[in-house]
């Protein structure tokens, strides 16, 4: 019987790997996801069989409750809320690891103290609790920031890093106490609480536009938590899948950091853009001469163009403007205009955020072009429409060594013949710096809520 279960785990592991591999290709991705879901089912069934045929009824009740909640959330969530959803699910994975480890610990420390507990197991338990706790509260804090329940800006205070360090030392000391004497329940509880506090403290100093890095990193943590739980339970399927997730999170984290030209350490230390503030305009705001454009005029410019590139940013998600953007694309294409989208790797609040939104509004994915592939094309483009993006199109990243975003890879929209920027106001972007693009002679500002101004412009385009 045991052999059968082990072999089923092996099959599940292979399916997980094949499933992830298939996620590499857009055509096969859905199939890959199904495969990995099937692998999960196999692993669960094998575990139920392993636990004997007299499965406690509680297991089914819990799975029914969890499954129903998960399914309802997954069906109801808006595509614009995807980053929040991923943060929540991620946090739940973390807390599950924490509870599994704690449960195993409780058995050893209180309920069956006669069980021998070796050093490897206890260290694995401690790590599971620590990583699981940080993943949970960190993800929940990220959720709060993304959904606007707590300030999305960087929250920094004096002595923040020192406090984190002290808490980390407390966690380690408690961990050592538990490692020396398994029965030190109090130390274990303190460590669990400290890990939860640490998760919050680590995420609050990180501001909105750095969220893609944080989400990727937390994703990686949830994998690592599953992995350490695998060591606790001596279960290789947990270790393999946890390692796969851990690796994927780390890769995404690296990609995001590179796209912002910042090191992971500087993102984690946080506080970026907090000092310069993100209020209306900047000190040099009044010196810049900007040109405004009306809806009718903008429609005419688009109508007479032959190539258009649309640059979406987080503002498009906030304004829910993806559908009207797609309508505009259809209209322009019907007029024979070549329309494409330029996607900056960190546009939005999570990796690939813009791609999902535009896919939702039925933009074919071969219209979405990566930064490196499209950057040379801006010079031959008639009109660029920037919808709710700011720092990722700021030419200061190329020209101004004093700028905090200097040398960050940007989309070279300023090279196009005309740039139209749809923006609510002159407020600075996340980095809290003036965007010199807005003062360029070829740049026109289309002020107002992206959704309503673009809807009006689509109306105008229809009449032209």
């Amino acid at each position: 019987m045991n052999i059968f279960i082990q072999l089923t785990y092996l099959v599940a592991t292979i399916l997980f790997i094949v499933g992830i591999k298939k996620l590499n290709r857009t055509q096969e991705a859905r199939q890959g996801n199904m495969l990995s879901a099937f692998a999960m089912l196999l692993a669960v069934v094998a575990t139920l069989v392993k636990s004997g045929l007299v499965t406690p009824i509680e297991i089914f009740v819990c799975m029914l409750i969890g499954g129903a909640i998960g399914l309802i959330w997954a069906k109801k969530v808006e595509m614009t809320q995807m980053p929040e959803m991923v943060a929540i699910f991620n946090g739940f994975g973390g807390i599950a690891s924490l509870f599994v480890a704690f449960s195993d610990y409780w058995t050893r420390a209180v309920e069956q103290p006669s069980l021998s507990t070796d050093a490897i197991t206890i260290v694995s338990i401690l790590l599971s609790v620590l990583i699981g706790g940080i993943t949970f509260s960190g993800s929940m804090t990220a959720y709060g920031k993304l959904s606007g329940k707590i300030s999305g800006n960087a929250i920094v205070f004096k002595g923040q890093h020192l406090l984190n360090l002290v808490l980390f030392v407390v966690a380690i000391v408690c961990g050592m106490l538990v490692a020396i004497e398994t029965g030190s329940v109090m130390a274990m509880v303190v460590m669990g609480v400290v890990s939860l506090v640490l998760g919050i403290l680590v995420v609050i100093p990180i501001g909105g536009a750095d969220m893609p890095v944080v989400i990727s990193l937390l994703n990686s943590y949830s994998g690592m938590a599953a992995c350490t739980t695998g060591f606790v339970l001596n279960n290789s399927v947990l270790i393999v899948t946890g390692a796969l997730v851990g690796a994927s999170g780390i890769i995404l984290t690296q990609i995001m950091c590179k796209a912002m030209n910042r090191s992971l350490v500087s993102v984690l230390l946080g506080g970026f853009g907090a000092k310069s503030g993100s209020g209306e305009g900047g000190p040099s705001g009044s010196e810049m001469v900007i040109k405004e454009v009306g809806v009718e005029e903008a429609a005419m410019i688009f109508d007479s163009s032959s190539s258009v590139i649309i640059v979406p940013g987080y503002g498009m998600a906030v304004a829910q403007a993806q559908h009207v953007v797609r309508e505009m694309m259809d209209l322009l294409q019907a007029k024979g205009v070549n329309v494409r989208f330029a996607i900056h790797p960190v546009a939005g609040r999570m990796p690939g955020h813009m791609n999902v939104l535009l896919a939702e509004s039925n933009v074919p994915y071969d219209k979405l072009i990566e930064m490196d592939q499209i950057n040379d094309d801006f010079a031959n483009t008639d009109v660029v429409l920037v919808v709710g993006a700011n720092d990722v199109v700021n030419p200061a990243a190329r020209t101004n060594p004093a700028s905090p975003i200097y040398e960050m890879p940007i989309l070279n929209v300023d090279k196009a013949r005309t740039v139209i920027v749809s923006k609510r106001s002159m407020a600075a972007g996340y980095a809290g710096i003036e965007n010199e693009l807005f003062g360029y002679p070829n740049c026109l500002m289309l002020f107002g809520d992206a959704k309503s101004t673009l809807t009006k412009m689509v109306g105008e385009l229809k009449e032209l």
């Binding site: 669960v44 636990s51 399927v237």
Partner: protein, 93 residues
Amino acid sequence: MSIENFIFLLYILVLASYCGFELISKVPPTLHTPLMSGSNAISGITIVGAILCIQEGEYSKYMGMVALVFATINVVGGYAVTDRMLQMFKKKK
């Protein structure tokens, strides 16, 4: 856990991590969000650990039950939402 067993599990960890890096480094940016939510669902594999915790005991069993509810939300919700997203990615008709 014997030290031999531990070393064996370490081998698994190292190879699986390497495998993960190789597999994922080629994912196109279009699929970054589905990759993230899909891998997130996979990390709900802790569900297996939760089931194993509910076998006996009293408080340890309750903790296992809490873990199981959270892990199931993670797994079911994660896969369902990833599928919903991937369904939307279409090529030009």
